[in-house]
């Protein structure tokens, strides 16, 4: 057992604190090459991560960078700086603790490179940037430890892959570097251990006492939830009642649009004028800071929020978490609940509010999973190669490198441990020459090999590489500001951002919700959307897009299990009756089988596929199945997908499902369909930016609006036509399959059901299918539809133009695929 230096032991004693067992274990492991700590929120996790550092610095004071701390959020880095400064001062350590993020001033950044602090708190992007400078070896030569906070969150995105590549570089610069990962409760600690290890070494896994089980229930309301939809508006009186009875309540929503709508309705019903705020990623920074400060001060009773509040920022007196809408993912739910009662050893309190009838079953499944400690997680595939391409370019920006050495180095990074020499070679070739079948760039290679080392042909390119660094691809958004009362300019208060595509559909006078208020669109000035406050009580356009999560495999399986019960005494009566009626009229979905219902309605033939593969996969399935139905002459007209089912309507019913659900046939359909698909184009753009094929679009470049810039879609189409085997297309495919297309779960569904298809033909709509008819997000089947619509529209426009008072076209905002 490693003892604490007396200074620190005295400090603990002076506070009347005892060191937690897991903090002691982390101290004992101070010399282990890597250690992963899994601890609940409020478990003294950060202190556990930093104790070895403080201990070492108190005994061996010296100059130079000692410990790096990396967190996914800038705010977290600033938070930790405050939380670390205090104990360091009280212990009497004369050390410098500084943060370095995108917000740090230029002067400060320069000074940090020349004379680094003892502890540097930063983000994956800022660390990668530091490594892309020539002086990185000098700056990092002596660094002893790196602490990676919220590693479970980083591991889910490309930012984590980028960080692990940066770590492989760092480990070469500082061979004695010790790695510490701090994680919230996760389903598969070994996966995170593999992710953060310096391969083939294995980290020690330390699991802290998870604390008491959370107190989590479904919120019972007077009014039953509606049949479909996701807003949870019906529950507002019950939610307000809970808010009144607690100190501080966090009200989580799955999407920003839902958070905005709910907040709006909450305030309409908030007769007591309870102080309630809203917080989500699309709000202006000033707005968010204001809410965060009010939260810290304890002056808010509740905050309506989205995932932007998910990460462990230490906040006030939260004693209740309310989740509106089914949580879709048990792990996320557990981490959210951890926000309530932010004290170790006190149970967290949470309420689930199902948004519709089906979500009652989903919430029940989630509750069961939490009780059974059954967290979900999809296995993470190998590290994406667009991130590797960026890493290679970053290395080149720092100085010449040897290809074999770099390959050996990147394969120590967990996500890339199985990268083949060929896979690496392709990325290197792409970085050097573009990797095209047509060798057009012999004179303009980006990287050239000189005496065995690869380097930039033009050293000035380093600046461009650094500018494009990072793996976060922003959707193109426009800032929204209140119009200044007097004079021109964009001087009004900033409210947040909206997606450019949405902004383009607005005309003067249109109203929409942002930051909980209804605003009126006044115009566009210098790429800023100008609005005024509106007195309207109902926004004409209510939503803008946000991420929609898909229900996890594990949760879906639990829902099907619930369906197998003989009766459902634990569910509200209306829901139990609904399920019973479904069983009488048709059948409930069963594990290992695929239920398909077919029935007429409104003169159309309807087909419902209960695939339970999550929203994205069910959407993909809808596209593939309608395509086959079109080939069979069944004339499908459209479809809509939810997490559990896809509803297709058309002129003729589906009679012979087996060949359609054959995996090989679906795969072929996928190849064909992927070709011109908008999801692929969006994925291509993201990968092309990460891999450095195209530059990030800066606000300035967009503002100038030059016609010289052209869409990345054109590059995608051109590559497909003339160089279909190009690396970027392969990467795009790999990425799209995991992400929005989620074909993996379609495959999993087909394998799970293995042709055991139950096609049930009925004379009318079934209870389980009925809510599908109310779902938004219907997808029409295309073909030459666009040209026909265009012709129609042209006629309308001319007809309108001839009239003195032109009728405005109804505005719509839809998913572009």
């Amino acid at each position: 057992m490693t003892g604490l230096p007396s200074k620190i032991a005295d400090w603990f004693a002076g506070k009347g604190w005892a060191i937690h067992p897991h903090q002691q274990t982390m101290l004992n492991l101070a010399d282990a090459p890597s250690a992963l700590l899994i601890a609940p929120t409020g478990g003294g996790k950060t202190m556990a991560g930093f104790l070895p550092t403080l201990s070492d610095l108190s005994e061996n004071p010296g100059d130079g960078l000692h410990t790096l701390y990396v967190s996914p959020l800038k705010a977290l880095a600033a938070d930790i700086k405050r939380n670390l400064r205090k104990p360091a001062d009280e212990i009497g350590l004369d050390i410098r603790i500084e943060d370095r993020t995108g917000d740090t001033s230029y002067t400060q950044k320069r000074r940090q490179r020349a004379d680094p602090p003892h502890i540097l708190l930063t983000t994956p992007e800022s660390l990668a940037l530091l490594l892309a400078y020539e002086d990185a070896p000098r700056m990092f030569a002596g660094v002893k430890r790196i602490v990676i906070d919220e590693i479970h969150a980083l591991a889910e995105s490309k930012r984590g892959d980028q960080l692990m590549l940066a770590l492989s570089r760092l480990q070469s610069l500082a061979p004695d570097l010790r790695r510490v990962g701090l994680s919230a409760t996760i389903e598969d600690p070994q996966a995170i251990a593999d992710f953060m290890a310096c391969h083939p070494a294995q980290p020690q896994i330390v699991t802290a006492d998870p604390g008491p089980d959370p107190d989590i229930q479904m919120l019972r309301t007077e009014e039953p939830p509606p049949w479909a939809g996701g807003g949870g508006k019906y529950a507002i009186p019950a939610v307000l009642d809970q808010v009144r009875r607690h100190n501080t309540t966090l009200i989580f929503h799955n999407t920003r649009a839902q958070a905005e709508l709910f907040f709006h309705h909450l305030w309409l019903a908030n007769e007591d004028q309870l102080p309630i705020g809203i917080h989500h990623g699309a709000l202006a920074k000033e707005q968010r800071l204001k809410v965060e400060q009010a939260m810290v001060d304890g002056s808010l009773k509740a905050i309506v929020c989205t995932g932007s509040l998910d990460l462990g920022i230490d906040w006030g007196d939260v004693d209740l978490v309310i989740q509106i809408g089914a949580p879709k993912n048990v792990k996320r739910l557990v981490q959210r609940i951890g926000r309530a009662n932010h004290r170790y050893n006190a149970p967290s309190k949470a309420l689930l509010v199902p948004a519709n009838r089906f979500e009652i079953v989903e919430c029940k499944a989630a509750l069961d999973a939490v009780k059974a400690y059954d967290l979900d997680g999809e296995p993470k595939g190998p590290g994406p190669r667009d991130v590797l391409c960026q890493h290679i370019l970053n290395c080149a920006a720092a100085g010449p490198f040897d290809a074999a050495t770099l390959y050996a180095e990147v394969t120590t990074a967990g996500p890339y441990r199985e990268l083949s020499p060929k896979g690496f070679e392709e990325c290197l070739t792409y970085c050097a020459t573009g990797g095209y079948a047509l060798r057009a760039y012999d004179r303009y290679q980006r990287l050239v090999e000189k005496s065995g080392k690869w380097q930039l042909r033009d050293p000035r390119a380093a600046a461009q590489i650094r500018m494009n660094l990072g793996t976060i691809i922003d959707t193109e958004t426009l800032k929204v500001r209140l119009k200044a009362r007097r004079g021109p300019g964009s001087g009004g208060a900033p409210l947040g951002e909206i997606e450019e595509g949405f902004a383009a559909t607005l005309t003067q006078g249109d109203t929409f919700l942002i930051g909980g208020q209804i605003v009126k669109y006044e115009g566009l000035n210098e790429m800023t959307v100008q609005v005024t406050r509106s007195q309207a009580d109902k926004p004409r356009i209510a939503t803008f897009l946000g991420t929609k999560f898909a229900t996890s495999t594990q949760l879906s399986n639990r829902i099907i299990e619930i369906f197998q019960q003989d009766s459902w005494p634990e569910l509200p009566n209306h829901t139990a009756e609904w399920l019973m009626l479904q069983r009488e009229r048709s059948r409930l979905p069963e594990p290992g089988r695929l239920l398909i219902e077919s029935f007429p309605r409104d003169g159309r033939a309807n087909t419902v596929i209960y695939g339970f593969a999550g929203r994205n996969a069910m959407q993909t399935l809808g596209l593939l199945v309608t395509q086959r139905m079109e080939e069979q002459g069944l004339a499908p007209l459209g479809f809509v997908a939810t997490d559990y089912a896809t509803l297709i309507w058309g002129l003729d019913p589906l009679k012979d499902p087996e060949p359609i659900f054959d995996l090989e046939n679906l795969r072929q359909g996928l190849e064909h369909w992927l070709a011109g698909n908008a999801v692929m184009k969006r994925t291509f753009r993201a990968s092309a930016i990460v891999a450095g094929l195209i530059d990030r679009m800066t606000r300035g470049a967009r503002k100038s609006g030059r016609q010289a810039t052209f869409s990345s879609d054109i590059l995608y189409d051109t590559l497909r036509k003339y160089d279909p085997d190009h690396l970027m297309l392969a990467i795009t495919r790999e990425e799209a399959m995991k992400g929005l297309i989620d074909f993996g779960r379609v495959e999993e569904m087909i394998i799970r059901t293995q042709g055991r298809i139950d096609l049930i033909e009925l004379d009318r709509v079934t209870p389980l299918a009925a809510p599908l008819f109310l779902e938004a997000g219907r997808v029409p089947i295309k073909g030459l539809a666009e040209e026909r619509l265009l012709a129609e529209e042209a006629d309308h426009l001319f007809a309108d133009a001839a009239l003195p008072d032109a009728v405005t076209q109804p505005k719509r905002w839809a998913v572009p695929f």
Binding site: L524, E526, M527, M697, Q707, F710, L790, R812
Partner: protein, 231 residues
């Protein structure tokens, strides 16, 4: 039919979906802003290595029109090459293709801001062309009659039952016609950009390119209008 027929300055013209303009009476095909060699120029200037196939793709599109129409005369309305050096550094295969395509046509290169001066290929080089009643030049002039120009790469955006469609277009006013860019690697400038403001009159319309080109009216935008949606 893959063209939209209309009258401009008393002349019958056809706007093709790929962005070409045909003058049947004179058997003349007009294309603008080919920007051949753009990827090479970008690599030379910025080090970015874009897929080097846009020249080939643009020539394939142009060849399709030549095959279909067999014009006597071809007018390239400026910015045919992305810069002068690009005109000398086309891949050999593309050089051969272009040279062969030019055979049998009276080929006129109008100078553009990207490619002033002599070019590496044959044909006639002109600052502008008077072919009564029409005048051809690269950049529209403020006071003019019956002028056909390019340069601005006009595009328009329409909302079709929830679908957002943005495409290159021809802008036709009473006194001028502005061509869309024909080159593969070309972006566009939205018609509501202030650059178009001086040109648009009460009878302006746009011909939207695509499989079935069609005309839509263009309204004057009051100041404050800005282009959005460059990607």
């Amino acid at each position: 039919m893959n063209f939209h027929a209309f009258d401009f300055a008393g002349t019958a013209l056809r706007a093709y979906g790929s962005g070409g303009l045909y003058w049947p009476a004179e058997e003349t095909l007009i294309v603008s802003d080919l920007h051949l060699g753009k990827s090479e120029r970008i690599a030379r200037r910025s080090g970015q290595l874009l897929p080097p196939y846009e020249t080939r793709d643009t020539l394939v599109q142009l060849d399709a029109l030549l095959e279909q129409l067999a014009p006597r005369r071809v007018i390239c309305l400026g910015d045919s090459f992305d810069d002068l050096e690009a005109s000398h550094s086309l891949p050999e295969e593309d050089q051969v293709t272009l040279t062969q395509m030019m055979i049998g046509h009276d080929w006129i290169w109008i100078e553009g801001n990207h490619d002033p001066g002599p070019l590496a290929f044959g044909g006639t080089h002109l600052d502008q062309l008077q072919a009564p009643p029409l005048t051809f030049r690269h950049i529209a002039e403020i006071t003019t009659e019956a002028e056909i120009s390019g340069h601005f790469h006009p595009k328009t955006r329409l909302f079709l039952r929830g679908r957002n469609v943005s495409r290159p277009c021809f802008l036709v006013t009473q006194s001028r016609l502005i061509m869309p860019a024909f080159g593969t690697y070309t972006g566009g400038l939205s018609l509501d950009h202030s650059a178009f403001e001086p040109f648009i009159d009460d009878k302006s319309f746009a011909i939207v390119t695509g499989r079935a080109p069609c005309a839509v009216p263009v309204r004057r935008v009051r100041s404050g209008g800005q282009a959005v949606g460059f990607s």
